[in-house]
Symmetry: C2
Subunit: 201 residues, 2 copies
């Protein structure tokens, strides 16, 4: 009956891990470029260059894709934050470098959008790892510089919260009022660094 004779482009056969990574990367691009509402099955599959059914083969549902993306982005963010090495000396420059890494992650690497996405979809329970990470950074890295643990946690809470605001809305609001998009970050970092100097000085 049905004659199958299609000259389709040859299939790409990846390992399951590669295929999942390919799909998640496509989804991440869509999230950053067009927002969470663009994370539809057909859109993700098209962006990844595979058939819809391939996405479902690897993840089971489009919901599972979104959840896996959340997990991967959280893991990437944590790894990125923890990669900042803070020696016990040179406190000022080190703080500067650490803050810049933090703000960069939230602005250019989509972490602010991830945070907003998690918050708006009520998925912040996925962030329980954050508690351990914050405690680790507060104790091991900032503790070495002589900062008490609870003060260090306050500093992290403050810095991350501000980084979310700056990364998510700073460029847009800056442009809206006729300032360069990086102006909000400049102002925030200047204020934050001054504040931290005042604490330790």
């Amino acid at each position: 009956m049905s004659i199958t004779k299609h000259k389709n482009s040859p299939r790409i056969r990846r390992t399951p891990e590669e295929s999942r990574a390919n799909i998640l990367s496509a989804a991440e691009d869509l999230l950053v470029e067009q927002g969470p509402q663009s994370l539809r099955l057909a859109d993700v599959a098209k962006r990844a260059g595979v058939a819809n059914a391939t996405v479902l083969h690897h993840f089971g549902s489009i919901d599972a894709v979104q959840q896996a993306l959340m997990e991967r982005m959280i893991a990437d963010l944590v790894e990125n934050i923890l990669s900042v090495e803070i020696p016990a000396d040179a406190p000022l420059e080190v703080r500067t470098a650490g803050l810049k890494t933090l703000f960069d992650a939230f602005e250019t690497r989509g972490a602010a959008r991830l945070a907003a996405w998690l918050e708006l979809t009520d998925e912040t329970s996925r962030l329980t790892v954050v508690r351990e990470v914050v405690q680790e950074v507060a104790q091991k890295k900032m503790g070495n510089a002589g900062v008490p643990a609870d003060v260090a946690e306050d500093i992290i809470l403050l810095s991350v919260t501000l980084a979310v605001g700056v990364g998510l809305f700073g460029p847009t609001l800056g442009r809206l009022i006729g300032k360069p998009p990086e102006r909000a970050r400049e102002l925030t970092l200047q204020m934050l660094m001054g504040y931290l100097e005042g604490l330790s000085g």
Copy 2:
């Protein structure tokens, strides 16, 4: 053929304005409580206590509902911000009061979620009014206190950006690391007020 005899609860007939407001309020509740992905036709209609077709009668499409909600929330926010009166004297307490109003709007009145929603859906072009509002506040209200216009605009840019971060993510992040949910706001306001004192002092 078809016999229609339903003992439904009596209809509520509103003016078009009332009906639109009722539907938008329901949508706003859903947005704040469950996020933008809950702004579905059936969900909004159910929350508003009307039939799906009623929503479409007044707005034409669910997309138009979302856009009208954006406009209404932006207008409410602007009105709320502009309602803060800043006399020319008593600079310190006035700043405090103004900042608290701002942070309160972004935290408890859903403005931070509105900002995140607009940003994630690429609808920030709706915020062009913001430019005028910022300029008005910078000139009329802060100008009275002797603050140069461009400095005033920087202060507003900084304050609003931080308010978004604090309002959106402060409570969640605070709870995550075992601190009270208002801790991020406390820290931010303390830092911001100190910074502003340093500018004028």
